[in-house]
């Protein structure tokens, strides 16, 4: 049973986090401030640390740096800051992943599982995802379609990667908004739709004549290889490096 250490000063959020993680089968412990959290992280050797950046005694970024200096424990930063600079700073300081408040239990659980997979070497996903003629190099953040390089914006790449990792499955727009944009979904929000339209243009298709991106009305969207290549509809994940 993986052990998760939660370093969070807000008692309500700390309780809710511990409860949600307990329900999902994790062993949990917590600290209400940076210094006790550091001590627990070193002494108790948790499998994952969930670290709030806004702590009362030391700034969370400092805790992150100090912890990284003495331990290789995977750290997920929980931050109320949604600006890119703050997130990049946290990742550069040694965080393995981040969640933006307010986050759901399912999202946190998915990120913990992903980190545990990577930490345990059980992550079978390679650095390259292939769907039909679409080849996504996750590490290099490049995409090739039938051999030609696609020029994708950062969010378009994230969107395509998320769909490619679930090729053949219908993914809801709510899920895309939550997981790719890490924002709550409003029914009237067209952010996902407009990015999907751009992605279609760059994949050389339209909503009326889809090849890879198929809209499933009232449900979501599915990425799959064109029907002319039926043997390549399932994601083919191979390690390129």
């Amino acid at each position: 049973m993986p052990h998760i250490l939660v370093i969070e000063d807000d008692p309500q959020l700390r309780s809710a986090l511990l409860r949600a993680l307990d329900e999902r089968g994790y062993a949990t412990s917590s600290a209400a401030a940076g210094m006790p959290g550091l001590r627990d992280a070193v002494d108790a050797r948790p499998d994952v640390v969930v670290l709030d950046l806004g702590l009362p005694d030391i700034d969370g970024s400092e805790v992150l740096r100090m912890l990284r200096a003495v331990s290789a424990v995977p750290i997920i930063v929980a931050t109320a800051r949604d600006d890119e600079q703050a997130i990049v700073r946290a990742l550069d300081a040694g965080a393995d992943d981040y969640v933006t408040k307010p986050f759901g239990a399912a999202q946190l659980d998915a990120r913990i599982r992903a980190i545990l997979r990577r930490a345990g070497g059980t992550d079978d996903r390679g650095t390259e995802i292939t769907v039909g003629g679409l080849v996504i190099d996750v590490k290099a953040r490049t995409v090739k379609l039938d051999g030609g390089v696609l020029d994708l914006a950062a969010k378009e790449f994230d969107l395509l990667r998320y769909l490619a990792e679930r090729a053949g499955q219908v993914v809801t727009k709510r899920e895309l908004q939550t997981e790719v944009w890490r924002q709550p979904y409003g029914g009237a929000d067209k952010t996902v739709d407009v990015h999907l339209s751009w992605l279609r243009r760059k994949l050389g298709e339209t909503a009326q004549q889809p090849r890879y991106l198929h809209t499933v009305r009232a449900v979501g969207v599915r990425l799959s290889a064109p029907e002319v290549e039926p043997d390549r509809t399932e994601p083919d994940r191979t390690s390129a490096r």
């Binding site: 959020l13 809710a16 806004g54 109320a80 759901g104 009237a188 407009v194 751009w198």
Partner: protein
């Protein structure tokens, strides 16, 4: 040359001219009088010395040189009517002098000096020395030219000094103005090197102090907003985790939707609080460019939905007092409103005018109830509220109506930058 330098040069030109005229004109008059006095004195000397000579030895009269100088002639009138020296008639002045009185008098353009010599054989003789105008004005023209040249030199020197002073002032003031412009444009690192007169140096020092203060206030604002985000989002995070723990799917979805709505409202509160941080020391954006960019962004979705998205913007920039990020969000809010609340196939137009007015109209069913107050009654999301607040923060506003095609029409009026 800058306006300030021109004005300073003009002021110095006028004052220098007045001072020079007040000094040089009386001086010129005095010099002219002095020249005349010198001429008369020379004539008097010549007349008196000749009179003394004749009085001692009357026989010297015939040998008198009548032309002493270019401008000075000498005549001796004997009592018997004989005239020696320069030719001349026996004028009433000579007659008057023959009565034993010496005097000088104006004669034509010159001055004559008459000295009687009594005790001469044949009656009183009169020595007449005539100072011509050339003697009376000797050296005046040259002196006046020197004075004029001196005046012109002083005038030019005054202008040069005024220009140098003006340049020093304008350089210092231009540096101040340039720094103030950079600060207004949001460059809070801009500082001026205090220079020029004390007063302008002080203004420069105060401007630097003000810039530092603005930077400190914005930093404090940034920290305040970061803290606000933390304080608001942390309890919402607890609420979301608790909502996720609800066992009933129906209840969980319902509470989850409420938490989503609360999250969007909190996000908007934080966005609004961040406005001063985004705008920095000054906000300005080109509405025409932003409208073009945003319409280009939404066009692929419009094509997928079978809509026509038409854009009409002026060729020249339309600068409005809004941070570019806020302006893009406001335009996105209106366009998203069309996509979210009209069916596929409904067309939309985006129109921008040169006076900073953006209109988004569609051919859909329009708002079912145009509210008299605000927009909350028809705003099913936050997009219109965000757009309204952005327009109002710039000094403008938002109006909602019906388009000529019968659909909805939302107009945002922005304050000019």
């Amino acid at each position: 040359m800058s306006s300030m330098r021109r004005q300073l040069a003009g002021l110095v030109a006028v004052t220098t001219s007045l001072v020079l005229l007040a000094f040089l004109i009386p001086l010129a008059i005095v010099l002219r009088h002095n020249a005349a006095d010198r001429g008369i004195a020379a004539a008097t000397d010549a007349a008196q010395s000749t009179a003394a000579l004749i009085a001692v030895d009357p026989n010297t009269a015939p040998g008198i040189n009548g032309r002493i100088d270019d401008g000075l002639t000498l005549s001796v009138f004997l009592g018997d009517g004989t005239v020696y020296g320069a030719a001349g008639s026996r004028t009433p002045s000579v007659e008057l002098a023959s009565r034993g009185r010496a005097f000088s008098a104006a004669s034509g353009s010159g001055v004559e000096v008459l000295v009687p010599v009594q005790g001469m054989p044949g009656g009183t003789a009169v020595v007449r020395a005539y100072a011509a105008p050339s003697l009376l004005n000797r050296g005046v023209t040259r002196t006046w030219l020197i004075l004029a040249a001196l005046g012109a030199a002083l005038f030019a020197l005054g202008l040069i000094l005024a220009d140098r002073l003006g340049r020093r002032l304008t350089t210092a003031v231009s540096a101040l103005a340039g720094t103030a412009d950079r600060l207004a444009a949001g460059d809070l690192e801009a500082r001026v090197t205090p220079d020029g007169p004390n007063e302008i140096r002080r203004v420069g020092e105060e401007l630097n102090r003000l810039a530092s203060r603005i930077g400190e206030l914005l930093t404090a604002e940034r920290e305040e907003v970061a803290d606000l985000a933390h304080r608001l989002r942390t309890p919402v995070a607890a609420l979301r985790l608790d909502a996720d723990s609800i066992r009933s799917d129906v209840d969980r979805d319902r509470v989850g939707a409420d938490v989503d709505y609360l999250t969007r409202v909190v996000d908007e509160v934080i966005r609004t609080a961040r406005r001063p941080v985004r705008e920095g020391a000054g906000a300005s954006a080109d509405l025409a460019k932003v409208a073009r960019d945003r319409v280009a962004f939404w066009t692929p979705l419009a094509e997928d939905d079978g809509r026509t998205l038409t854009l009409a913007v002026p060729d020249q920039p339309v600068l409005v007092r809004v941070a570019i990020e806020d302006l893009a969000t406001a335009v996105d809010g209106l366009l998203q409103n069309v996509f979210a609340h009209t069916t596929d196939g409904v067309d939309a137009t985006v129109n921008v005018t040169a006076d900073g007015v953006l209109t988004v109209a569609d051919t859909g069913g329009g708002f079912t109830d145009v509210p008299e107050r605000g927009v909350s009654a028809v705003s099913t999301g936050l997009g219109l509220d965000i757009a309204r607040r952005t327009a109002e923060a710039s000094g403008g506003g938002m109006t909602i109506g019906r388009s000529s095609a019968g659909g909805a029409e939302v107009t945002l009026r922005f304050g000019a930058a």
